[in-house]
Amino acid sequence: MRQIGEIKMAIYSVYVVNRAGGLIYQLDHTSAKTEIEKTFSYPLELVLRIVDERVVVSFGQRDGIKVGHTLLAINGDPVNGRSLEDGRDVLEVIADAENYPIAIKFGRPKLSSNERIMLASMFHSLYVISSQLSPEPKSSGIEVLQTDTFKLNCYQTLTGIKFIVLTDPRQGGVDSLLKKIYEIYADFALKNPFYSLDMPIRCELFDENLKGALESAERTGMYTANV
């Protein structure tokens, strides 16, 4: 029975990294809503800059639009990199007074798949370094990484595969969830005769069961094996 106004615990994403540090599976289960759309009049008070082929706010933080936010859409048309879908350059459209009043949507950029692969490999190396720098003998790598907006849990199996889960900082029971994901991996990826080890996982049953496990973990606020 749900209480009124219960806080929804979120599991943001799941990453699976193979022995060599390559990303073999990635799932975004929940994404926090950080998009803001506002109507502006000429001239625009925000200073925009091109960073990595994206239009980013560099100065003039206001009304929830923060420095580092990317321009996602103009008047409802999604922006691809630095130009709109019809080919017009974003900065030119914004500099032209005739296009005003203009509705622009800003938000945190979504990670591209290349970036995800890079971040997974980065984490793989950080895991090893944290084990090397340990002041105690026989330490593992990073198992829990805490920040103020999310918590990252990592479980490394004896075969070197890492299961990484990003959740809300208050989420509990992530250890049992990680073990459950390992079980699901063993049952639906490893036992699949068409799946080769260390390759990207493209098995439907793995996806379905993983989503089911994540949903029951979110629903109860912590994962219990009985559910």
Partner: protein
């Protein structure tokens, strides 16, 4: 409950101070290399969470835990990084690290006309004060090993 060691880095990556209280395993490399590796790891973790974070963050990375130790991190707005490694039973050290910064570092290093910022700290007073402060923490105990 013990504290293993502390590193203090400035914004350029220079290790200003290092001290260990209980450390069973040496890193297997020279001190300078270890400092660079530690700074590099922290810098990479900060960059990693900046990209991975699902929403905008305020404080950033606070700590990480392995199966044997826990590393606590605090960064001041001026780019000074305080890194403390402890055992697993220690929880929130953000206020401890903030106290180390405001009551010990600022008082005995920043306000000291003989201490140049950006260079390793050679002030004996700072070392004594920090040592006393850390030993006075409720979760500090020298291990019999």
């Amino acid at each position: 409950m013990t504290i293993f060691n502390i590193h203090i880095f400035d914004r350029n990556g220079t290790c200003l101070y290092y001290h260990e209280w209980n450390r069973r395993k040496q890193a297997g490399m020279s001190r300078e290399e270890e400092f660079k590796l530690m700074y590099g790891m922290i810098f990479s973790i900060k960059s990693f969470i900046a990209r991975m974070s699902p929403t905008d963050y305020k404080d950033g990375f606070t700590n990480f835990k392995t199966n044997k130790y826990k590393l606590h991190f605090y960064e001041t707005p001026s780019g000074l990084k305080f890194i403390l490694t402890t055992d697993l039973s220690v929880n929130n050290t953000r206020d401890v690290l903030q106290q180390i910064y405001s009551q010990i570092f600022v008082e005995f290093v920043v306000k000291n006309p003989l201490c140049n910022l950006g260079e390793p700290i050679s002030s004996e007073l700072f070392k004594i004060k920090l040592d006393n402060f850390v030993r006075g923490l409720p979760y500090f105990q020298i291990r019999q090993s």
